[in-house]
């Protein structure tokens, strides 16, 4: 099924109907999405600032990343689920929104990057030292996730 077909199916699903007819549904789901965003952003920020050697230099990047990756996974799941619910209410608008498409591309890139190259860069760190590739990985990660956030914001504005 192509993207348009998938989005229309979502809009006509029970979830879509519930979201479209409920007075507070969209607001509540959006609030959950926003809280998830704060937690996800916080965990990304702390791990990447550690990789850049800005904070928690005396602690192992591997230790920090292991725990905060769990936080990231949970908050990312919350954001994807709430995001699908939001999408079911605004399927048409999102389909035609370049900001939404950008957001999905950047989200895929950020997630893939986080679980591949970024993870490898972290495993190469040793306590107290900051090397080249972890720094690059941190900057790329921050830019990608920031891009997701900005694109998401742009959906509502453009």
């Amino acid at each position: 099924m192509d993207l348009h077909g998938w989005l229309m199916a979502l809009a006509h699903s029970p979830l879509g109907h519930a979201m479209q007819t409920s007075r507070w549904g969209f607001a509540v789901v959006e609030m959950v999405h926003l809280l998830g965003l704060a937690i996800l952003g916080g965990s990304v920020l702390i791990v990447d600032l550690r990789l850049l050697g800005v904070i928690l230099k005396g602690e192992s990047a591997i230790t920090i990343s292991r725990d905060l990756s769990r936080v990231l996974l949970v908050s990312l799941s919350v954001m994807v689920l709430s995001g699908i619910a939001l999408l079911s209410e605004e399927a048409g608008k999102c389909y035609y929104s370049p900001a939404f498409r950008w957001k999905m591309v950047l989200l895929a890139a950020a997630a893939v990057f986080y679980f591949t190259l970024h993870r490898q860069a972290i495993l190469r760190t040793r306590r107290g030292t900051v090397t080249f590739w972890p720094r690059i990985a941190a900057v790329v990660s921050l830019l990608l996730w920031l891009g997701v956030g900005v694109a998401g914001r742009a959906i509502g504005l453009l």
């Binding site: 609030m31 965003l37 905060l68 769990r70 956030g149």
Partner: protein, 163 residues
Amino acid sequence: MPLLHQFCETLYQSGFGTMLRESNNAFSVIESVHVLAITLLFGTIAVLDLRMLGVILRQISVSSVARGVLPLTWSGLAVSVVSGFLLFWAEAEKMYANPSFRAKLVLLALAAINALVFHRTIYRSAHEWERQHMSPWRARATAIASLALWSGVIIAGRAIAYF
């Protein structure tokens, strides 16, 4: 008209407030900065709260986590307050009567008081308990209050548009 209401009306009708409100881009940009700042503010303090609740980073002492995280939290607060004040300036007259905005300010004050009390009391003895995986009950109570109150601020903030 009460003084506070007068103040809001003055801001709202000012040249700067009007310019912000009617601008195509300025208000949206400031609002976007305000929203994304919750990452810096809430996202980071949540990590410290979760540490004290013994959920994450148990091998790292609480004060080390705090030292790493709090500068970020303060930066987030600074950005939020400045951008928030500009948003308020543009919409001051409408904000005066908005119940969600008032709730947000109350919750914000409570969150600040929660942090202040923590730093002046239980955190003073941090060296005694900071290495424990789970912090003393007073620290945990502060952490739960922090998570709840800041979530409340964000929720109330989002609800402003609905009143």
